[in-house]
């Protein structure tokens, strides 16, 4: 009997970031058992682990490289995404230290879960096989369910975790059923083999395949919180600990978009007429639901949740554009979104009080008189989220819109620009409260070096990407 499974198909160097991060995550998990109440060591190890992960991602040359029988890929898209993931996880951990102290979150598993979640995100962005995508999504989701409910004694956190878990499990069912149907009608779970099979026009009209595509869109659409599959987002974003909310709005969302891009732009480009319309409807709905919903909100975390739904709409346009310009627009958008979202949530954290208090937009009244620099940074983040030059948000939107116009998606772009205008209403509302209203209560700012560092990175990133976007655009458009 000859040996099966030639080990050559397994390229461990290509898999280095996943391995390194898993080892660090397990280390954090085990060290916590002896660590006592002080979590500084865990924070340090987690940050080192994330740094090592980002470095080890560049170990593989030349690109693209494949591993595990073409189900795992290292290419520019995945490398860029790994950088975004490690950055967002590191920023989350930095934000968490002070927050966890205040909210009395003592679990060292918190950091291990963030690392494990990042492992899932890396797998998700690097997979070219539907089974791998499914595994990645599950690793990410399970960690997020726990992280959402980590404030065990708070009923809102519990409610959020339960809702997220039930709806998430339901969406996973849709996703898996879609994968089954696609596998049944194309004979493979590998994205490249599916793309090959689909070149045959008679294969494209298979109703089972179309049904599978629709179910895939539903499943992935849920994970990126796009309308009409967004119902969980506001409650979960509000109930989760604020650093986790920031994390959810950036990392896992970017990972789900990476999977979205891989599935639709790499496996089904031949069938684009059939999924383009559907995705366009979802994109338009997300923008309107997100922006109109955000106007009604009085809680800043809920407002940012709706704003993140509308951003999912803009990002979907980049996926519909599906050209190489579309993919680099996606990458650039995700990076600038990371900076502004973490900055904004960082400020929400330093203004918050124990027990998730002080999160109403009214609480921000008169902030500019007491703490002008904090108010100014918040203004920068909000204007950038709205898409005003000279900030990163503007360039990112501009980039997506030009990619879309090149593909002839003029109507979509017009709707998106209109929506950007709507979004200024609620972003500016916070600015108006900060600058033009009298403050009613004293502000208790709990500013630690780590939180300050995150906000500083947010400000620098937002302005830098807005004024000098060329380096990053060159990196994104490989």
């Amino acid at each position: 009997m000859e040996p099966i499974l030639a080990p050559e198909s397994i390229d461990l160097i290509a898999l280095a970031p996943v391995i390194v991060l898993s080892v660090f995550a397990m280390m954090v998990l085990v060290l916590d058992l002896w660590g006592g109440r002080n979590k500084t060591l865990l924070v340090f190890i987690s940050l080192v682990g994330l740094l090592m992960t980002a470095i080890s991602a560049f170990a593989k040359h030349p690109l693209p490289a494949y591993s595990f029988n073409d189900s795992y890929i290292v290419d520019h898209l995945s490398l860029f995404f790994i950088c975004i993931f490690t950055l967002s996880s590191a920023l989350t951990i930095l934000l968490s230290v002070e927050y966890n102290e205040r909210e009395d979150i003592r679990a060292g598993e918190y950091y291990a879960l963030i690392l494990f979640c990042t492992v899932g995100m890396i797998l998700l962005a690097s997979s070219t096989d539907m089974i791998m995508i499914f595994l990645g999504i599950e690793i990410v989701s399970i960690c997020l369910y726990v992280l959402t409910g980590i404030r065990r004694n708070d009923h809102r956190s519990n409610e959020a975790a339960l809702k997220y878990f039930l709806l998430g499990a339901f969406a996973t069912g849709f996703l898996l059923y879609g994968m089954t149907l696609v596998y049944g009608s194309t004979g493979s779970t590998n994205l490249f083999k599916i793309a090959e099979f689909i070149q045959n026009p008679s294969a494209q009209s298979n109703p089972l395949l179309l049904m599978g595509l629709v179910l895939l869109i539903i499943g992935l659409g849920f994970k990126v919180a796009s309308a009409p599959f967004h119902m969980w987002a506001p409650d979960v974003y509000q109930g989760a600990p604020t650093p986790v909310t920031a994390f959810m709005a950036v990392g896992p969302k970017a990972a789900a978009f990476a999977a979205f891009f891989r599935v639709f732009a790499e496996a089904f480009p031949e069938m684009s007429p059939s999924w383009e319309t559907l995705l366009s409807i979802i994109a338009v709905l997300s923008m309107f639901v997100g922006n109109l919903g955000a106007i009604m909100q009085t809680n800043i975390k809920r407002m940012l949740a709706f704003s993140s739904i509308s951003h999912a709409g803009y990002i979907l346009i980049a996926i519909i554009a599906k050209s190489s310009l579309g993919s680099s627009a996606l990458l650039f958008y995700m990076l600038s979104y990371t900076f502004m979202t973490f900055g904004a949530f960082g400020i929400v954290i330093i203004l918050g009080r124990k027990g998730e208090e002080n999160l109403e937009i009214e609480n921000y009244s008169g902030l500019a008189y007491k703490h002008p620099i904090i108010a100014l940074s918040m203004t920068i983040f909000l204007l950038s989220l709205g898409g005003l030059p000279p900030f990163a948000g503007f360039v990112a939107k501009f980039y997506i819109f030009s990619a879309a116009i090149q593909e002839g998606l003029l109507t979509l772009v017009i709707i998106a620009v209109l929506n950007s205008a709507i979004s200024f209403y609620y972003y500016l509302k916070v600015v108006v409260f900060m600058y033009m209203k009298e403050s009613e209560a004293e502000f208790k700012i709990s500013l630690t070096p780590m939180t300050l560092f995150v906000i500083l990175i947010g400000v620098i990133g937002t302005i830098n990407l807005g004024i000098f976007p060329n380096t990053i655009i060159a990196l994104a458009s490989h």
Partner: protein, 108 residues
């Protein structure tokens, strides 16, 4: 080989029935003897500790299932498969260590 296996199985049955102590009383003669009475209302509360034990059992049970395909293909997978399995067991061991130290195995 078959006779040996048959012999061991039958021998064990025979030995236990011959050597084992037999103390019969009413509770023991019931079809199930897991500490629960047979006829009770289903709306009963039971300790949440069972839940943890059940979850841990499912986790480790499912992970143990991976040993079977490996055992069947042990020779054909060779050294590579052996090392991979050692890694798998190591990770399982870390999980067990975590559960143990966290007190997941303590009943009180």
């Amino acid at each position: 080989m078959f006779l040996l296996a048959m012999g061991i199985a039958c021998g064990m049955l025979l030995m236990t029935s011959l050597l084992g102590p037999k103390r019969k009383f009413a509770d023991k003669m019931e079809p199930f003897e897991c500490g629960e009475s047979q006829l009770v209302s289903p709306h009963q509360r039971f300790s949440v500790k069972f839940y943890l034990v059940a979850v841990l059992f499912v986790l480790f049970d499912i992970e143990a299932i991976f040993f079977f395909p490996w055992a069947i293909l042990f020779r054909r997978l060779g050294m590579f498969g052996f090392i991979e399995m050692l890694l798998f067991i190591l990770i399982l061991g870390i999980g067990l260590l975590y559960v143990w130290k966290r007190g997941g195995l303590d009943w009180e």
